[in-house]
Every structure is written in C-alpha cells, then in structure tokens.
C-alpha cells in the first residue's frame, strides 16, 4: 500500500527522531543507496590515478613503513607489550612500536576522517540538497562505511606485518569488530552533528581539523598511557578514545579481551550520542535547502 508522507511546517516530533527503531529503519530502507555512495566515496579517491584501487593498499603500507622507520629506527622507541617482537629484550624490534602505534592510528582515523569530512559533506552538495528528494542522512553513514573499508585494509596490513615480525597473530582478533561498534557510533555521531552544523556555520571546515588534531594528541596513540603523569590520567581516561584505542590494541595485538564493562559503557554512550546527533540532523535538515 502506498505510504503517507507528511510535510508539515511543524517539525517532526523529537519522540519519533529519538527512537532507535526509526534510525535503523531509515538506514535499512536506503541500504542500496548507502552502498552506492560508500563505493563512490572510495572510488572517487583514486579515480583517474594510474594505480587505481592499488592505492587503497599502498597508502597505508607506505604510512606503516614511514612510521616504522621514524619511531622504530630513528627514535628507537619501544612500547614493550608486543610479545615475540623483542619487547622485553634490550634490542627492540623496530616494528614493535610502529605496529602498536599503527593499530591505534587506524582506529582513530575512522573517527577523525568522519569528523573532518562532515562539515563539507552536506554544504558542498547543493545538488543533493535542493534539487533531489534525497535522504541526506545517509551521506554521513556512507562516509563511515568507506572509512571502515579503509580500516579493514589497514588492519589486514597490520596483521600481516605482525605475523612477519612476531610469527603469530593475536588470538582475540575476532573481537576487533566488536570494538568497532562503539567506535563507529562515536564516528557517526560526530558526522551527523558536524555535517548538519557545517551547513549553517561554514567556519567548521577550518575548525574541525584542528580539534581532531588536538584530540589525536590527547589520546594515547603514539605514547603509552603509562607515560602520562599520574595527575593527568583521570582526564585522559575520561576521553572515550583512550579506551577505544586501548581495546583496539588489546584485540589486534596483545591477545586480550577488552574490559567488557568499559566496552558496555562506551557502547551505551556511543548509542546515545548517535541517536541525539541523528535527531539533531533530521531537525536541522529542514532548513538545509534554504541555506545551501
């Protein structure tokens, strides 16, 4: 039966927007569209390049090599937790630090890219806003999907590199997708919030990269949290990304299961943030066509 669509001068009741069922139904309904846009997001990056899709692998590989050289060889830094990588030896394996860094970096990048792309996501697509009846809420999701695809490639490289340097692979790797759940929720929350805000406040495009850069340094990504002086620890631990990158390392490298209580709290917090950001996006989108 044909469904009834209501367009009213009164905004959709928040009650409806705050329902997780509505959110999921919305995304399921546009599943095809999501796939299509996520694929384009990935393809667009390499379109017209000579190596094409190979860049999706080369890019993180080159990064991994650079970090290995800088951190492992030049600074000879060590983390001291990756077993079999000469962690407890006096002569550290140059790959050990780089791999530990890279695991967290891949996870954080998912969030960072979603957040930095968000302000221009809607604002730079007037065609989709004004000229098509387009479910704009799928755009942030498609960015997240594309980032998860890149993360999957990064993680695969990481696992190969770990196997080469240590001869084994973390037995809890299969738990990493579980860690990705709260991570994706935070990334999506940021993407929905910032993409809608970016339509009204164009300055966000300049501001957000700086903020994510600050968050990057405030998160123990290229230093272990034990290096942080005791009195700053509570501040660090209030940052959800501290736990998220830690869990990423636990599952991808250290063969540990995440702390399920922390995981549960993060997932709950992420779900609430995501739902609020979705409701905000859907409310704000009513005015997009007048502004873009």
């Amino acid at each position: 039966m044909s469904e009834l669509v209501l367009r009213s001068s009164r905004p959709t009741p928040l009650r409806n927007l705050l329902s997780p069922v509505a959110l999921v139904a919305d995304l399921v309904r546009y599943g095809d569209l999501l796939k299509q846009f996520a694929r384009r997001e990935v393809e667009a990056r390499h379109k017209g390049t000579l190596l094409g899709a190979a860049w999706t692998v080369f890019n993180p590989l080159i990064q991994l090599l650079i970090y290995t050289f800088i951190f492992g060889v030049v600074f000879a830094m060590k983390w001291g937790r990756l077993e079999g990588a000469g962690a407890s030896d006096d002569a550290p394996n140059p790959g050990e630090f780089a791999l530990t860094f890279f695991a967290a970096y891949v996870a954080f990048t998912v969030f960072q890219e979603c957040a930095t792309k968000a302000p221009g996501l809607i604002a730079d697509r007037p065609n989709l806003v004004r000229k098509v009846v387009f479910p704009l809420e799928v755009l942030p999701v498609s960015v997240l999907l594309a980032q998860l695809f890149y993360a999957a490639i990064g993680v695969s490289l990481l696992l190969i590199a770990t196997f080469i340097t240590t001869g084994r692979i973390s037995p809890t790797v299969w738990l990493f997708p579980v860690v990705c759940i709260p991570l994706s929720m935070f990334a999506l929350a940021a993407a929905w919030l910032l993409s809608a805000l970016g339509v009204y406040i164009r300055d966000l495009k300049q501001v957000v990269p700086v903020l994510t850069q600050m968050l990057f340094f405030a998160t123990p990504i290229f230093y272990p949290i034990k290096n942080v002086p005791e009195q700053y620890r509570p501040v660090m631990e209030a940052n959800p990304f501290t736990s998220l990158v830690e869990m990423t390392r636990q599952t991808l490298l250290w063969g540990e299961a995440p702390n399920w209580r922390t995981w549960g709290m993060l997932t709950l917090g992420g779900a609430v943030a995501m739902q609020l950001a979705y409701a905000w996006f859907m409310r704000a989108r009513r005015g997009f066509a007048d502004v873009v």
């Binding site: 367009r7 569209l33 989709l128």
Partner: protein, 465 residues
C-alpha cells in the same frame, strides 16, 4: 479563489476517498539576509529581534488532489509555481501549513535538478531508483526500457554535467515515468525537448493518466495544460488566484497577463499625455526604442469608437490607434507607421500615413500632430502588441527613409473569443462560401464530384482604411 465542487469531486477510476495530495494553508517564506553575519545573529538572538527580511514565495495554498486526477499550475515566472512543486516533492519544507502526499512520487523539477551532475547517466538512473526505494535488481530490469525511451546513446555513460538540456530532460523524463510512480510531478521540463520527444512525453503522460497516476503539471504551453489537465491552479504573487477547470484557469491567467500589460501600456500612454508639457516624453513609453529623435512619438493609445482607451476588442469591432507626435525641431515631412504583432512576434498587418496617402504637414519645433488609424478587428483571439515608427521618407539609404523614432510594443490589446464567430487562423479574411446542388442525380459509380464548392475573396483590400 475557490474551487468548483463538481470538479473537486473525483474523476473516474479511483475508489478511495483519500486525496493523493492534500495541501492545508501551505506557505513558504524565505529569509533574506543582507549580510551572512546576520544569519548568525538571527540564530543567537532570534528570540528578541529579526535580522532578515521575510519573502513570502507562497501564501496560504489549500487544495486536495484525488488519486488519478491531473492538475495544472499556471502563473507567471516568480508566481510560486516551482516552489509549490518543490514543497510537494519534498525538497523544500513549508513555513506554514501541512502537506500530505500518498504514494510514490516521481518529480521532474526545474532543469538541472533530480540528477547528481557528477554521476553518469547510468549511475543516476540507479541513484533515482534507490532514492525511491526500488531494489537494484528491479532497476536493472527496467534499465533497457529507460535507455530506449531516453534515446541518448553513448551519453548514458558520460557525467550528466556534460549533457545538453534536451538530453537531460530526456533521461529525467524516462526515469520518472519508468519507476511506476503513483504521483508524477512535471515542472516545465518538456519545453527543452525537441518536438518528437515532446510528443512522446505527452503520449506517455496520457498513458500514465489512463492507468490512474496522479499528475501535477507546470507548463507554459496552454495546450498541454488544457489537454492533459482537468483542473488547474492559477497562482499570482504566491497566492492562489483561482482553482477550477483547466480551461478557465488558463483563460483567467491570460486575462490577467493582458490586463497587466494593457494597464501598463495605457498608464504610460496616459502619463505621456499628462506630462507632455513638462518634458519630451523620453521614457514615458516603454519597450525597445530608438531613432534620431528630431520628432518623438509622445503617446500611443488604443481606443474604442467613442475615443475611450480600451484593452480588448471583439470580432468585427474597429481598432483605433492614436499616435501623438511632437516635433523637437522643424521637420518637413514625416511618415508615421504602425504594425500589429501577435504574441509570438509575427507582424500581422500595419500601414503608414505615406502608404495611405494621408501626409503629415510640416511641423515647427514643439508642435504636435495626432495621427489616427482605424482598422476592422479580424484577428484571432489572443494578445497583440502595437509597434509604431516615425520615419523621414525619401532620404537615407534605399531602405526607404531614416528612422526618427521607433517603439516596439508601445501599446497592447487583446481580442476576446466569440463563440458565434470563431476565427481559426491568424487573421480572418472576408470569405464568401457558397454551396449548390446539381439538379440531376448522376449514378454513384461516376467519378464526377456531385457537389461543387466555390469560394472567393472579393474584399481582400477592404479591411484597412
């Protein structure tokens, strides 16, 4: 202002009592900000003060469209037609009121809309499908039919931004009609297609209408609106001026446009006369104007037999065109012409003082002369413009004189339809029609035509003074 109850009651074919589209007091207000900064101020301090100028593109529109109905929207540019369609299609949000839409909507909004310009035609077809919630497999099945109807060849794999407007319209239309819409919204897009494609589109829309699709159409072609739509809405200045039969809405719209044009012409003509003492009537007549200006046409008036300004004529009435000419310096010989032009710009008839052997006497600087032309109205119903020219004959190039003053569209008038005396072609020529019966019947097998019709046009020259 109101709808005819017999027309709002539902056309054949639909069983449900629920309207497909229902509008209640719908309005759309745009906020115009002078400075981007004001937008921020509004967001922060909007509760206390407004920092924008409101612009109401649409005011208080209410109407119900039943399933299977076809409704046209007419009005001038900027009257809110497209805004209304965009509100119904869902790209804009209403400022006031409520819109209920029941059924799958395929919208062909203004040119350049509907497609993502960076995607290829093929990708856009699938994009449209997924926006409408059609599974990809189903779109793949429909794809060949869409490509065949659009008929744009290899361009299907080019980004849409490289399309010509015609190709664009072709693809957009074929997608819209192929996704099994329950409601089809078409905004003017047909105008860019070539004749053959337009015909195909109209045939397709008819077929969709027959199958029970609800159609909402904006078109500047009255014929399209009249032939495809039962009802029509006439908008002016964002307000609902009339909602009723398509015929009547189109007629009212035309009447309105003519009134406006005539008011303009008459007002400027009158103003010229009133202001003539003060200054040469340089700008009092609108339209395209040029000439050497040693004499000026001060006013052009369209009059009835009693000498009162009029806007409309009926068939057979006399058209009076009065030109007031003022010499800006001494001029020896002048020739005044007029031409009547139809709405598509074809000059239908006209003449001049020289041709009619009615010379204008030499004028001193500041002196005025009034030239009057009278012609019988034998024009088809429609709107007409009058172009006037003042020349100095016998000089200049072989072209036949120097143009002293020329004003295109100096005045306008309309001709009303008269059901008892239809005029089917541009101009009615006096024609004599006779019909005689032959006395003796001849066998039916004989090849000779039994009836002879003769026609003659003996008064061809008699229509102009």
């Amino acid at each position: 202002m109101s709808s005819d109850p017999t027309l709002t009651a539902k056309p054949a074919g639909s069983s449900q009592g629920e309207p497909a589209i229902s509008l209640r007091n719908v309005g759309k207000c745009y906020h115009i900000y002078d400075k981007p900064r004001d937008r921020l101020k509004q967001a922060a301090l909007g509760k206390f003060r407004t920092f924008y100028r409101p612009f109401w593109a649409l005011h208080d529109i209410s109407m119900d469209i039943m399933p299977g109905e076809s409704v046209g929207i007419v009005g001038r540019n900027g009257s809110g037609k497209s805004t209304l369609l965009q509100l119904i299609a869902g790209t804009l949000t209403p400022t006031t009121g409520e819109i209920r839409v029941r059924g799958r909507v395929a919208a062909l909004l203004e040119l350049g809309s509907g497609f993502n310009p960076d995607f290829t035609g093929r990708e856009n077809v699938f994009l449209q499908g997924s926006i409408l919630g059609i599974p990809r497999r189903e779109m793949e099945r429909k794809f060949d039919a869409i490509a065949a109807f659009a008929d744009i060849g290899d361009f299907l794999d080019q980004p849409v931004k490289h399309y010509s407007s015609g190709m664009y319209a072709r693809l957009a239309f074929s997608v819209a009609v192929s996704v099994d819409p329950e409601i089809l919204i078409v905004d003017e897009i047909l105008a860019v297609g070539d004749m053959a494609f337009q015909q195909r589109c109209i045939a397709r829309m008819r077929a969709l209408l027959d199958s029970g699709v609800t159609l909402l159409l904006v078109s500047h072609s009255d014929d399209n609106v009249k032939s495809l739509c039962r009802r029509a809405l006439f908008l002016d200045g964002g307000r609902q001026q009339f909602l009723g039969s398509a015929e009547e809405a189109v007629d009212r719209y035309h009447h309105h446009v003519r009134e406006e044009a005539n008011r303009h012409a008459v007002a400027s003509g009158g103003a010229a006369v009133a202001a003539s003492e003060a200054a040469p009537a340089a700008d009092s007549l609108t339209g395209l104007r040029y000439g050497t200006a040693e004499a000026r046409i001060e006013s052009v008036r369209i009059l009835d037999d009693a000498g009162r300004p009029v806007k409309v004529y009926r068939f057979g009435e006399a058209i009076h065109i009065e030109m007031t000419i003022r010499a800006m310096q001494d001029v020896q010989c002048l020739d005044a012409h007029f031409a009547v032009r139809d709405s598509v710009g074809v000059d239908l008839f006209g003449t001049g003082t020289g041709d009619e052997r009615c010379p204008i006497p030499p004028l001193h600087a500041g002196q005025r002369a009034v030239v009057r032309f009278k012609a019988e109205n034998n024009l088809r119903p429609g709107s007409y413009g009058v172009t006037v020219t003042l020349t100095r004959p016998g000089e200049g190039a072989a072209a036949g004189g120097v143009t002293v003053d020329h004003i295109s569209g100096a005045a306008a008038f309309a001709v009303l339809a008269d059901a008892s005396r239809p005029v089917r072609y541009k101009i009615h020529q006096a024609v004599e029609a006779t019909c005689t019966l032959e006395a003796a019947p001849t066998p039916v097998t004989a090849p000779a035509p039994p009836i002879a019709t003769t026609a003659a046009a003996p008064t061809a020259a008699g229509t102009l003074p």
